[in-house]
């Protein structure tokens, strides 16, 4: 019995290790974005579409749009894709992709196979723009208003429910704000 307590350290360690292992796979749902109601950070990056020409904030739509962080390695992104495709077909809202820590070839192949819902794909292969955006990993989704301010952030996969209950209400509200401002 006396020697059992010597096993205490190894047991404590084992419990801790299990938690850490779980921690690695948790949805990296983290603290609310510091960027809400701030301007979208500037960037000057390649895109999958425009060849050598670098894209900047100027190239983004001047209406409310969705900014989606994705990667070909990212399984949840595959789940989101049909939803975004449907949104594109119905012309609900422009969706800009940020191809995050990926390679161009893999990204293009992924879009060929699964369909491309994005009006533009910004290439952030180093993840540097992701740092500016406070991204922890793909997928993450931002909703940006017509003035280029980030208004909403969703961390993790967007399923139909999240799309209907979270994303679309914000998008519709921003779109109506934009119409009021424009008229």
């Amino acid at each position: 019995m006396k020697n059992l307590k010597l096993f205490l350290p190894v047991i404590v360690f084992a419990v801790l290790a299990v938690f850490m292992w779980r921690g690695l796979y948790l949805d990296s749902r983290t603290l609310p974005s510091m960027l809400i109601d701030r301007e979208l950070p500037d960037f000057e990056l390649r895109t999958l579409e425009l060849g050598d020409q670098l894209a900047t904030v100027e190239d983004l739509p001047d209406e409310p749009f969705i900014l989606n962080i994705w990667g070909s390695y990212c399984l949840p992104c595959l789940q989101e894709n049909p939803i975004f495709m449907a949104a594109r077909e119905q012309d609900l809202v422009p969706i800009i992709g940020v191809n995050y820590k990926d390679t161009d070839n893999a990204a293009r192949e992924w879009l060929d196979i699964n369909g491309n819902p994005f009006t533009l794909n910004i290439v952030d292969d180093t993840g540097r723009y992701g740092i500016d955006l406070g991204v922890y990993g793909a997928p993450e989704t931002f909703i940006v208003d017509a003035n280029g301010f980030i208004r909403y952030k969703h961390i993790g996969t967007i399923d139909y429910r999240a799309w209907q209950d979270e994303i679309m209400p914000v998008v519709r509200q921003l779109q109506s704000e934009n119409q009021v401002a424009g008229s």
Binding site: F7, P9, V10, F13, A17, M20, L26, R29, T30
Partner: protein, 665 residues
């Protein structure tokens, strides 16, 4: 071609580590002298190939070989040469190679400087370190190879080194931090070797102590440099943030501090043996945990290198194997490590035990605070909370307070048994003097009753007086003061110096928290702002061109009570290659206070936002750590660690005979 040679050298180092991690250990178990004698040459081989690898990575940086992915991501043609070299440890892959090379360096040092240790024991120590090296090199080759290429189309220019890392402190902070961190693997290897061989005695503790002291002293410097760098480079006026990546080194430091104290008791009195071994394992485990946290993306933080679960899984697997394995070994083998001497109620052993208890509780509390968000998230299924400085301060500050109270008594107490009368006779006057002066000085200086300051002063004076008292009573019987001071061993001075530094750091930290003031202002050229006794006059800005950045440099004249003191030049920089802004503080550092100005952003009307700080005593924090580290190094140089040329048999028989003499230090 050249980078492939680096990769090849890395693979060779991996292969040699496998041999090093197996043959000598098996040889030691089977008493095969040939296999055991392989340990030293293999160690040298591992070190040589790791060095080649590291030099080649450095060469790729210096020659701007952007076909190497790691170079392309962390360097740039315009980067000044010294930062091209230090960019080697400016990112995950390179810093891990650097880290592994440090391990190789420690291994080589053990091979060279442990001639007096029996061959069989050294074979085990180097073998265990070889196993650790296998893990590190495999990790690099499998998940984060610094020599990976971007082919066939390498970028024309690199992405540049993170602007905050282009700084002198970054040249020295990671090397010293890593060196200290990795140094704990030496002590770990000694502990595991002791468990394997079943021999843990005073001789073992004496072999182990210099390594533990050295690693801990260097870690102290590394932590301190990191804190200093954060202070003057990041521009938030703080020096410690309880960031999830700052905490693991602090945990290692606290456990290391506990370990070197418990090693002292093991060496002098043959007590706390299995506890010392456990501390050695825990200190090393915490250093691996630090690696895991920084490099796996488990916790998000400003320091985090990369968020890649494969790396996390790998490190966790390695952690499980090495730490889980050694803790299991500990559970099975610890019963043979019996402590043979008892000790009385007021002996030094008791105070060392109290010291250990406090340090271990403090590190456990920090670990809990660091990992709690993750555990909570795992249990609650997604909600995230953050544990902030209030939690850490509430726990850490009182614990350190108790530690400091005991620190006044411990060194005065004697080994084995101390009579209460002796302690009373030694310390009563010291306590009275500390309380009287500690209350009087702050009250007279401020003409009020600042309770926090009084507490700090009383505690600091308590330590200072008790130190002086201890030195005085130790030289009392000697013919002259000088002869007395000379007769005290070097390690005694090391201890006193480190304790003095610790008190200085604590006092600095407390006082600067109490007295720091800051103010954010918006100033146009010619305008001024007051803060405390100082007036800051903004003279405007001018453009400045650096090697790889452009900047606006502000000129701020500082007046103290109307008299000109000096001019500060904070900068707002823009690193052109990566288009990242950075700030350069204007700091006037003095022994008793720092003035600190950060330049914010310009406004349309020509005004600049800026933050002014007056931070009294902040420098003491880092000065204190220099004393701590120097004390630790001084203790390593004590002659007695080299005096004993023990043969295998004699060492095995040796008992802590000098324990009786040890009452004097």
């Amino acid at each position: 071609m050249i980078p492939e040679l680096g990769n090849f050298a890395l693979i060779l180092a991996f292969c040699l580590s496998i041999v090093l991690g197996t043959l000598p250990i098996i040889g030691a178990a089977r008493d095969n002298t040939l296999w055991m004698s392989l340990a030293r040459p293999l160690t040298a081989g591992v070190f040589v190939f790791l060095s080649i690898s590291l030099v080649i990575l450095g060469y790729s940086f210096v020659t701007d070989d952007f076909s190497v992915q790691f170079v392309a991501n962390h360097s740039n043609t315009n980067l000044p040469l010294q930062y091209k070299i230090t960019a080697v440890w400016g990112g995950h892959e390179g810093s891990f190679l650097f880290w592994t090379w440090m391990l190789g360096g420690w291994m080589l040092a053990v091979a060279i400087f442990s001639k007096s240790v029996p061959e069989e024991f050294i074979a085990r120590v180097l073998g265990v370190m070889g196993l650790i090296c296998v893990g590190y090199t495999l990790f690099m080759l499998a998940t984060s190879n610094p020599f990976d290429r971007v082919l066939p189309l390498p970028p024309a220019d690199g992405a540049d080194l993170n602007a905050a890392l282009q700084d002198f402190a970054f040249i020295v902070h990671p090397p010293s931090l890593y060196m200290g961190y990795v140094g704990f693997s030496v002590v770990f290897a000694f502990a595991v070797a002791a468990l394997l061989s079943g021999r843990l005695d005073a001789a073992w503790a004496r072999w182990c102590r210099p390594w533990a002291n050295a690693a801990w002293a260097i870690l102290t410097l590394g932590l301190s440099l990191g804190s200093w760098w954060a202070y003057y480079e990041l521009g938030w006026g703080g020096w410690w943030a309880w960031d999830p990546v700052e905490n693991p080194p602090l945990i290692t430091w606290l456990l290391g501090a506990a370990m070197i104290h418990s090693l002292a008791a093991t060496e002098k009195r043959g007590v706390f043996k299995s506890w010392t071994v456990l501390l050695a394992i825990m200190a090393f485990a915490s250093s691996l945990l630090g690696t895991f946290i920084t490099r796996s993306g488990l916790l998000t933080s400003v320091h985090a290198f990369a968020t890649d679960p494969t790396r996390g899984v790998y490190i966790l697997g390695f952690l499980g194997l090495i730490v889980g394995g050694s803790l299991l070994l500990y559970a099975i083998r610890a019963p043979i490590l019996k402590s043979e001497f008892g000790f009385g109620n007021w002996s030094r052993e008791v105070f060392l035990l109290a010291n250990n208890l406090i340090l271990v509780v403090a590190s456990a509390a920090i670990l809990l605070g660091t990992l709690y968000p993750m555990v909570y998230q795992a249990v609650s299924g997604g909600d995230l909370i953050s544990v902030g400085p209030p939690y850490f301060n509430t726990i850490f500050v009182p614990l350190m307070g108790i530690l400091v109270v005991l620190l006044g008594i411990g060194p005065v107490a004697r080994w084995k048994r101390t009579s209460r009368e002796y302690l009373r006779q030694q310390l009563t006057r010291v306590a009275i003097a500390a309380v009287v002066l500690g209350v009087a000085i702050p009250v007279l200086l401020t003409m009020s009753v600042p309770l926090g300051t009084i507490g700090v002063c009383v505690l600091a004076l308590w330590i200072m007086f008790s130190m002086l008292r201890d030195v005085a009573s130790k030289v009392a019987n000697k013919p002259s003061l000088m002869a007395g001071l000379k007769s005290l061993p070097v390690s005694y001075w090391g201890m006193q110096l480190a304790h003095f530094g610790f008190v200085m750091t604590m006092a600095g930290a407390c006082l600067t928290s109490i007295y720091s003031i800051e103010r954010s202002v918006l100033l146009q050229a010619g305008q001024q702002a007051d803060l405390g006794r100082y007036t800051f006059v903004f003279e405007g800005t001018r453009p400045v061109q650096g090697p790889n950045y452009i900047a606006d440099e502000g000129t701020i004249r500082v007046l103290r009570e109307g008299e000109f003191l000096r001019t500060l030049h904070p900068q707002k920089q823009l690193y052109t290659a990566s288009n990242t802004p950075a700030t350069h503080m204007g700091i006037d550092g003095r022994f008793l206070r720092d003035l600190f100005v950060t330049l914010g952003d310009p406004r349309d009307n020509g005004a600049w936002s800026m933050t002014l700080y007056v931070k009294p005593f902040v420098r003491w924090i880092w000065l204190g750590t220099i004393f701590i580290a120097f004390g630790g190094i001084l203790a390593v140089t004590d002659k007695r660690y080299r005096r004993y040329k023990v043969s295998k048999q004699a060492a095995a028989d040796e008992q802590p005979a000098e324990a009786r003499l040890a009452g004097e230090h």
